[in-house]
């Protein structure tokens, strides 16, 4: 299985190299479809064999030799509950993305598809990497193809969009590189005999304890990079531009996969690496999340361009994800993970549909449409499902994610206020407003433009690529546990472990001299003190999730169960990290 994981990651890259030798455009398309489909098929066993009860360790772990001389920086990939769904989402979306650009890309076809394939290898690597340094490398590997995808095949303003996208992201990530180096040396000194290390197992081990002041700076630097990538308000200004100017495939990849790297990185690195800072800054991130939700929705409401509207709705949806993660309880984080998948599916579908309309009509302005439903009944159905999923209609996937997040936030001890959930819920209402209003203006009413009378409905290829997304939208909506169960154990463990370690570090820091701002931030804040007391003494850290809440229509059960003494946890964790799982 370890080999299979590596094959799945590198098969697309291999396919990209293959495309260099193919001259005919049709062959290029078929080869890409074949490669991405094969990647998806090969990745299915990874999900089927996945042990959902395993915690604290990754599965299918490949650990390479250190490749940078005297430093313990090594190739290390594996999947765990945090990453497996996003990994599958990436392999699942790839063939769809290839199909969606079948006819719309006509120039430099081989270049286009090889960029898509390289991007896929990079994305899979980001989700599978378990060494911070490898994560960084894979991440940058996704930036280069994205730069070309937007810049070469994009719309009118593509150059500005792509350069802005690239530089904006790079500023954050280069600063993060400095913080990463700092973490590497600090971890080396504390847990690796003085040898620089970025091994995920070591940098999240209980012995690795960064001081509170260090944590603050490192957390803010990492957080800045991830906020740009997500993007979290107020670092979002590159996103609508990049989304709008990118070709359909680029927008879909950007929305479905690339944005998830930011939120995934928050869950994978930002929270576990700097536990105290993460808890202390949780309210700040939650506020930014809520602002994102409402701001994104309000701006989406006034957009004239359908694609821009969907782009701003992304900001709103990702606000939910961030809110869920900083609720610091299983329900919220579970909701965040499933919401990442949901957003990938529904926003991906919306971008594809907008792309289909654009291909026929060469316009994305809402005012240029109207009455399209009469001409394109099949598309209308698909569009309707995607729209409702995006709004969060019960029975479709969007509802599951948003509901879990709202429940998690409402009960969050760390956030300590129901107002976050209340305000976020306003975002759901606004979403219904702008999405349905847009849908109504585009699809219904009289046909006001002559061109719209000539519109042809979507063909078999287009139906074929939308149907799988629709299946999952409904499936997640009806049986969410089929999906949430993959992440449940690991997320629960991760949050408990983080809070336990936060308690240990706070306990050790009590005797140290801290600057007054740090004292204020880490000790005096009442919510935080509670959270730390709780993590320190009481083992019941997945607070706020009563079984009654958990059962309320969401299907997530046993969230509050499975609680161990922190000492036992550590023991389990140590054995887990040593064991290289199957």
């Amino acid at each position: 299985m370890e080999l299979l994981l590596n094959i799945v990651i590198y098969l697309p890259l291999f396919g990209a190299l293959l495309l260099l030798f193919i001259r005919q455009d049709d062959w290029v398309r078929w080869t890409s479809l074949l490669v991405t489909t094969a990647t998806f098929v090969l990745s299915i066993p990874l999900l089927l064999q996945f042990d959902i009860t395993s915690t604290g360790t990754a599965q299918y772990l490949t650990v390479g030799e250190p490749f940078m001389g005297d430093w313990d920086v090594k190739y290390m990939v594996g999947l765990d509950g945090l990453s497996v769904l996003l990994f599958m989402l990436t392999t699942f979306m790839a063939p769809i993305v290839v199909l969606s650009s079948w006819t719309s890309i006509r120039k430099h076809v081989a270049g286009f598809y090889s960029m898509l394939l390289i991007l896929q290898t990079g994305s899979l690597g980001v989700f599978a990497a378990l060494d911070l340094f490898m994560f960084y490398i894979f991440f940058e590997l996704t930036q280069i193809p994205m730069f070309f995808l937007i810049g070469i095949w994009g719309g009118e303003d593509r150059i500005y969009a792509t350069v802005k996208f690239f530089i904006y992201t790079l500023v954050g990530w280069l600063l993060m590189l400095v913080a990463l180096i700092y973490v590497g040396f600090a971890a080396g000194n504390m847990v690796n005999d003085g040898i620089f290390t970025t091994d995920w197992r070591l940098i999240t081990s209980p012995e690795f304890q960064l001081g509170l002041v260090e944590q603050t700076w490192l957390f803010l630097t990492f957080g800045f990079a991830f906020c740009i990538k997500v993007p979290i308000f107020p670092f979002h200004s590159w996103l609508p531009l990049a989304h709008t100017e990118a070709p359909t495939a680029g927008s879909v990849v950007l929305a479905a996969i690339a944005l998830k790297m930011g939120t995934y990185a928050i869950l994978r690195y930002l929270i576990p690496l700097f536990p105290n800072a993460a808890i202390a800054f949780a309210p700040m991130f939650a506020v930014l999340g809520v602002i994102g939700i409402i701001y994104g929705a309000l701006v989406a409401m006034v957009q004239k361009d359908v694609k821009k509207l969907v782009a701003y709705s992304s900001i709103s949806h990702l606000g939910f994800v961030v809110l869920g993660m900083f609720a610091f309880n299983t329900i919220g984080a579970q909701g965040a993970i499933i919401q990442m998948v949901n957003h990938g599916l529904s926003t991906g579908a919306l971008f594809i549909i907008v792309g289909m309309l654009y291909e026929r009509r060469h316009s994305r302005l809402i005012s240029d449409f109207g009455g399209v439903a009469k001409m394109m009944p099949v598309l209308t159905v698909m569009f309707m499902i995607a729209t409702l999923a995006s709004i969060g209609l019960p029975g479709l996937n969007g509802f599951v994610g948003e509901f879990l997040i709202l429940v998690g936030t409402f009960n969050s001890e760390v956030l300590g206020s129901p107002w976050y959930a209340v305000l976020a819920a306003v975002g759901v209402i606004l979403a219904a407003g702008y999405m349905l209003w847009m849908f109504q203006r585009v699809m219904f009413g009289p046909i006001t433009h002559e061109e719209n009378k000539k519109l042809t409905d979507i063909n078999t290829r287009e139906i074929g690529l939308l149907v799988p997304i629709m299946i999952f939208i409904v499936w997640i909506g009806i049986r969410p546990t089929d999906f949430t169960r993959y992440s449940e154990a690991q997320v629960t463990w991760m949050l408990e472990d983080t809070q336990t370690r936060a308690g240990m570090i706070a306990g050790n820091a009590a005797g140290e001299q801290l600057p007054s701002w740090a004292l204020k931030l880490y000790a005096v804040t009442p919510h935080l003190a509670d959270a730390m007391d709780m993590a320190d003494g009481d083992a019941d850290v997945s607070v706020g999730v009563t079984p009654a809440d958990a059962n309320k229509g969401t299907g997530v059960t046993d969230a509050a169960g499975d609680v161990h003494e922190s000492g036992t946890k550590d023991a389990i964790r140590n054995t887990n990290t040593k064991k290289e799982s199957q």
């Binding site: 001389g69 350069v163 600063l175």
Partner: protein, 476 residues
């Protein structure tokens, strides 16, 4: 240990020195530039091979301690010979197509390379000075190679005047240090007991001399003009080999002659590194000429390398050596492609507007250019990233965090001007109607090799970092 064995320790120097004389004679008697070209390649390849094998050989001093061999000196020679060999191979096509393929070019390149080899091997300030002067005088001639072009003549004169000035500083610094310590051997200077005014003045002047050679701001004025005015492949040679040689010599002087003064020179270098990075990058942002942009980019790179020097630990020095290696690969590659585009329209076809749409004509060349430029930006998985990463890491380990933060912000700004080239190559329509012809086999092979090495050492830097790490016990 006299005689033959001792000569073997400086074999690359002997080969290149002999080659320079041989090629000069060849020119005098046959006048065939092609013969000169072939023999230059053969001699350089031989010297490179010897230098590479010296990497794994013993380290030590010879000629009564005037030169060192093995270790850092050998690696410096590898850098110099790589720069020489690759830019010589690229030179023929370019010089022929721009109509100035003459044999003297090669003998001048070889003499310059001889000076650089002496520079990286020097263990004594006099040897060092001889190396610098042999190198510089040959480079003044090369910069003015296109003698009927105003720009080229201006470049040569500017280089010569400013260079002579800097040499004066350097020499005066050497004299003062000799006065303070009573010796010109690096180790003896390190042992200076009494560090008075004379000593510090000597150190300061020596630093200024080196800052000039590595084109640190504010001693960089000559660089853009010289790099732009010289024939492009010669620019590649100057930008890589001479800069690597100067940096290696700088490391030798700092680590062997001035280890006790580290706290002082570290602060000075800190300041100049900031100036170099910030001003180099800002000026590069506004350039419309690709060659000039690359000149400013090489100034900016000197700034990043100086971060490593400011850290001043063995780990930092080996990171700097790695950086220089990556820098040599990507710069020769980028200049090689600029030269290739340039020869389609004769001299000086380097305005960025001219690059519109060229990426998709000859797609492989376009991909190679992207690799070199992304490597310069410092994006993984290319060697340039590892170089930057290791230099930054060494500095973070020494606590120079604010310097590194300035460094990463400067390199984030640098993205814009590197991407701008790619934007024109790929995202604008071909407006100038030129049709690219395939470059020659050897030319393409060199570019492909450089790109392959850039990727290889980006993915698997361990071999080189281990080797460089092993030098420190003896050298520093």
């Amino acid at each position: 240990m006299e005689s033959a064995n001792e000569l073997l320790t400086i074999l690359p120097l002997i080969i290149i020195g002999a080659a320079g004389l041989f090629v000069m004679m060849l020119d005098a008697f046959t006048g065939s530039a092609r013969l000169a070209y072939v023999s230059t390649i053969l001699f350089s390849a031989a010297a490179l091979a010897v230098a590479v094998s010296d990497l794994f050989g013993p380290m030590g001093e010879s000629f009564h301690g005037l030169v060192t061999y093995g270790g850092t000196a050998a690696f410096g020679m590898v850098l110099v010979m790589m720069g020489t060999l690759f830019s010589v191979i690229l030179s023929r096509d370019y010089l022929e197509k721009t109509g100035r393929h003459i044999a003297e070019v090669y003998s001048m390149i070889l003499f310059a390379a001889f000076g650089m080899l002496l520079l990286v091997a020097s263990n004594n300030l006099i040897t060092l000075f001889l190396g610098i002067e042999t190198m510089s005088i040959s480079l003044y001639v090369l910069a003015g190679l296109v003698k009927n072009e105003k720009k080229s003549v201006e470049a040569a004169l500017k280089y010569f005047l400013l260079g002579a000035f800097a040499t004066g500083f350097l020499l005066y610094g050497i004299a003062l240090l000799y006065g303070a310590s009573g010796s010109t051997f690096l180790v003896d200077i390190a042992a200076t007991e009494e560090k008075g005014m004379i000593y510090w003045a000597g150190v300061g002047l020596l630093l200024v001399g080196f800052f000039f050679k590595i084109s640190a701001v504010p001693f960089h004025m000559w660089t853009p003009d010289v790099y732009q005015g010289a024939p492009t492949t010669i620019t590649a040679f100057m930008a890589t080999a001479s800069k690597s040689a100067a940096f290696v010599a700088f490391i030798l002087v700092l680590s062997r002659a001035l280890p006790d003064a580290r706290a002082e020179w570290s602060d000075v270098i800190w300041l100049f590194a900031v100036l170099t990075m910030v001003i180099g990058n800002i000026l590069a942002l506004v350039q419309d000429n690709v060659k000039r942009m690359l000149a400013y980019s090489s100034i900016a790179h000197a700034g990043y390398i100086m971060i490593g020097l400011a850290a001043g630990t063995p780990a930092a020095y080996s990171a700097v050596l790695f950086y220089l290696f990556a820098y040599t690969l990507m710069n020769i590659g980028a200049f090689g492609i600029v030269a290739y585009y340039e020869w389609h329209k004769g001299y000086d076809f380097t305005d960025i507007q001219n690059y519109s749409g060229l990426g998709f004509q000859q797609p492989i060349i376009g991909v190679l250019m992207s690799i070199f430029l992304f490597s310069m930006v410092g994006i993984p998985p290319f060697a340039g990233f590892i170089g930057k990463y290791r230099v930054f890491a060494a500095a973070v380990d020494e606590g120079l965090i604010s310097l590194v933060v300035i460094g990463v912000l400067a390199s984030a700004a640098s993205v814009y001007y590197y991407l701008r080239v790619l934007v024109h190559m790929y995202m604008k329509e071909n407006g100038n109607g030129i049709t690219l012809t395939r470059p020659g086999t050897l030319y393409s092979a060199v570019l492909l090799l450089l790109a392959a090495l850039t990727i290889y050492f980006g993915i698997n830097p361990g071999i080189l970092t281990d080797l460089l790490g092993s030098f420190k016990s003896v050298t520093y």
